[in-house]
Symmetry: D2
Subunit: 333 residues, 4 copies
């Protein structure tokens, strides 16, 4: 970490600051320039409050030279992490399509979708039981009953299941869920991160709506610092001024994350775009960008044929998308 | 709610959709135009999933005509809400300065600051016991002990106390806290919102880092829908591309919220700007914009005189700020 | 266009508004609801100032039902536009790699790069002569001399040339440039758009740094409304809060633009990301998303070997990228 | 400027870079750390391309220690600039209300508004003659005739006049305009900036829709580097994800600009918010934040009484706002 001191700083002020930094067990290397003095801080700077330091009267600016995350950092773990989710693997060359309905609605629905997406090549079944909803008046999901239906679909198809945990009081209920999703709105729910960090479950950590890549990795670090190394990052679009899509899918994060971290990266084009027509081209683009997996909303409910145009795809369209993703993956191999 | 159908929609498709809408207990008023058909939906549309409807193949776009929030809506509650927080009142012409340190560190510190800010006119003491930190390696606050110290400061000064609740398992411990803060990162932690909605405590609901005003009001609606009407909204800056400040303080939200809702609005310029020099002008501007309260970080620790430049103010600077805020409030009365 | 009137609107106010709208040659269809009145405006609404209408005291909100752009709209021109740029074609299934250095520096440099990129499959040579620079003290490009050098490179290789026009007083000088680039910062320089609209040159219109897709199409409409139909849209990243890349590449815009407009879409991953390592994965992803062309910065200056890591690629890396793009294009055909 | 080199950098690579930097007439101070090497660059770094340097293979990051702007920098010009605009002054304690209609429409209109706003205390008349419009089909302003009408209003009231210049070919026509406005969309139209920099006219430089404060100051530096020191900065809202206002008014920029620069800062709440109801509270807040002037849209057209609700205020409402601004300015003096 480097701290640049303002030009008017007195030697006494500088020494006062240096002493304070040394009390934090840091070596301080002082470099006096014509205009400014630069302090190089050496040691474990992950505990230094960068904002506090930067806001001191005599400090012009502060810059990290090393990343604030450790266990998720590729520097300290050069090999790709490979995560086992039941019979599926993600990362290190292993790729998985994750598919299923937005909400679990009935046994027929979830088993029907599960069979269809398995047929089309999906490796993991997703489905919402507890649903984060902006409005308290909207349907909040089937809850426990939804988990039961997911288990039934797993039994019928053999697919491992993935569903979102919102409330840490439900953790026991998730004991046999194959992959626990932490949603975008909970990416900085630190107590929830710590609790899932104490389990041995694979965690799908969605990016917060306005989270930087560094903040996202810090949230993964929260989970890993409690002992759980089975983390999969999931890009689902970020909030920008553009209104043509629900969110802006940031595919650049895929190669960036692969450089910074050893964790696998999955892309969810359904939630990012909010429009069925955009799901297929963005899924193919995600595969081309190097994603380790793609998560797609699929529905299979003839009674709601009206919903064909939603961000959900029919099984047929999903099968077509999955084969195109496979072709692109072959092409860039 | 208005739904515009695409030009190629067949009568059968239209009727199918209308039937589906009517099954949701909505009246549907059909208006056929040359190019498009417009459906007017009348009734309780707060349960309609606007995104789902908008994503249907035959629907071009959907628009809400009435707001999705009810209990926080000024339309249904024209008078300003006035919230009692111990001896203080906020809203409906009642104004309060809320002040205190970022983190509670020791009995001397918190009592010292509490006495100083009471002297300068603060009505409520704030201080962090459980701290949301981006890094798992950063100091996470004194926790229970911090709550104890806040109680001691309340006893010493008579000031009601406000502190952040992050984990709903701690709710019992907060039984005698005068105002519970829900932080920006938890603004859409819906289970936490529901739990504090079941208490009778005043809730200070901070705006999420990239939350729209409507989403913020929907989160307040979550609390109120469980029975707790004592909600104070707190603007603390939103995330933008500008890097000169930590966040961009959105003061326009003050008059907007006063038009849309009956709830009081507090502004926190310390966290929004992250720079002590900006706190005073932004606090005065917030008062001029009509804020019902202002929340300021104040420290009082001679051992850390270095930190003078942080976003925290010294008691002296806070006293000066408080008197300028009062002058502006008098001026615009 | 639909205007929703507020609930308290009197019949006199409504009639006053309707009369005003009818004076603009619009048919007005009135639909009275229980809570609100909805006006449907039929006719040429492209001249209606939507913001003015929406800000009237009695108007709750306004919504366009049809797009404000006409000539660039696919509805009125269902076939893909194919643009000829010298020997190259873009659009309607024709794909082109556009490559070259950020700035034209010398004859050796530009001819060297031109020969290398032609060899690797580029169809068009790009290079900056007049450079938009944030600082008045930075090198502003070789200007006229740079154009001369581009002509020399065209003569040596046969590649058509593309370079940026910033000042409409230079238009004469650009008479034999094969494709004129309008930069991101000039996307809403409306007088410049009108002037290039009066030429018969292909125009590469870059997206503004914080431009919506609709604003971008409106800028293309400015050019086309003056008679020039040879427009190519170029996505180059948008401004967001994320700092890991210079800008956020919005690949979703490719399928969206293909739905809304008949104009071809090119993607520039070099400027969007600002990092050489990200250029190749994002170029391949752009091809997968359906882009009609890709624009890449390539340098070829052994004296500046240090710059290898910049957003520019060496000819070798470009050749590798070009072949991977080709493979993906084959795969998704 | 500080450059941090990556840990794997060889001495040869480092020396190569240092030699390159020294050829740019910079002193380079090398500080070898355990993990990284830090280069301190001393001298005129305003010509160094920070992005190029930062993108070199061996460079981890680059940080400016001094600002890239000089002539607009308060460090080199500690006293506030005071700008004379006809009979009005702005800056250094001089405050001016600038008011007038969005577009000049007729002699009656502009003289009527001019008399009304002078009566209410405005010091400068504004009005659009050449209008930047998103759509080529929208009314583009009266042009030359609009300038004539503004001159007539000046003659009738004595108020200096301010209007927007979009096309540098119109510069001659603006020879007697008292203050030339450069609009938000042209903030980085560098050729236009250079041309107005060669005049001796006061320039009102609006902030670009997604411009950082530093980019804005660099655009002012463009003007000043050509010799014109009469620059007034005008905040008019920035583009964010929030849709409740047209743009987000960033009042924090007022104290920040006052710290970084000697130039006066004016705030335009009319364009920022787009809603008449928000203009008055945001104008008062701007005054409280320390603005040197406020720019307000005022209309005076009984035939368009319908428009009362637009972002424009009636003269009566403007007079009320002006007196409240004055009271707040007195209060914070």
């Amino acid at each position: 970490m480097i701290a640049v001191l303002k030009s008017g700083t007195t030697p006494a002020q500088r020494d006062h600051l240096v002493a304070w930094l040394r009390r934090m067990n840091l070596d301080v290397h002082i470099s006096e320039g014509a205009e400014v003095t630069v302090l190089g801080l050496i040691g474990d700077t992950s505990r230094v409050d960068m904002e506090l330091l930067g806001s001191l009267e005599i400090v012009q600016s502060v810059k990290r030279v090393s990343e604030p995350y450790k266990q998720v950092n590729r520097k300290f773990h050069p090999m790709d992490s490979v995560i086992d989710i039941g019979s599926a693997k993600i990362g290190g060359g292993h790729f998985a399509m994750i598919a299923g309905p937005c909400s679990v609605e009935s046994e027929d629905q979830i088993i029907g979708v599960a069979m269809a997406v398995r047929e089309a090549g999906a490796k993991i079944l997703r489905g919402g039981a507890y649903k984060p909803r902006t409005s308290p008046y909207a349907f909040q999901g089937l809850g426990s009953q939804g988990l039961e239906l997911l288990r039934a679909a797993r039994k019928a198809t053999g697919l491992p299941i993935c569903t979102e945990l919102m409330d840490l009081r439900h953790l026991d209920e998730f004991h046999d869920i194959d992959m626990i999703q932490i949603g975008a709105r909970n990416m900085q729910n630190f107590d929830l991160l710590k609790e899932v960090g104490k389990t041995d479950k694979p965690i799908l950590l969605k990016r917060g709506l306005s989270s930087t890549i560094q903040e996202w990795l810090m949230s993964a670090e929260y989970i890993m610092s409690e002992g759980n190394e089975k983390i999969i990052l999931c890009e689902r679009g970020i909030r920008t001024y553009e209104t043509a899509t629900r969110n802006t899918l940031d595919l650049s994060c895929v190669p960036i994350l692969h450089e910074l971290s050893h964790l696998p990266v999955v892309v969810d084009p359904s939630h990012a775009t909010g429009k069925a027509k955009l799901v297929a081209p963005m899924a193919v683009a995600a595969a081309a960008a190097g994603a380790d997996g793609i998560m797609i909303e699929v529905h299979n409910d003839p009674a709601h044929a009206l919903c064909d145009g939603a961000q959900s795809l029919t099984p047929d369209k999903f099968a077509d998308l999955a084969s195109r993703v496979e072709i692109v993956r072959e092409a860039i191999r």
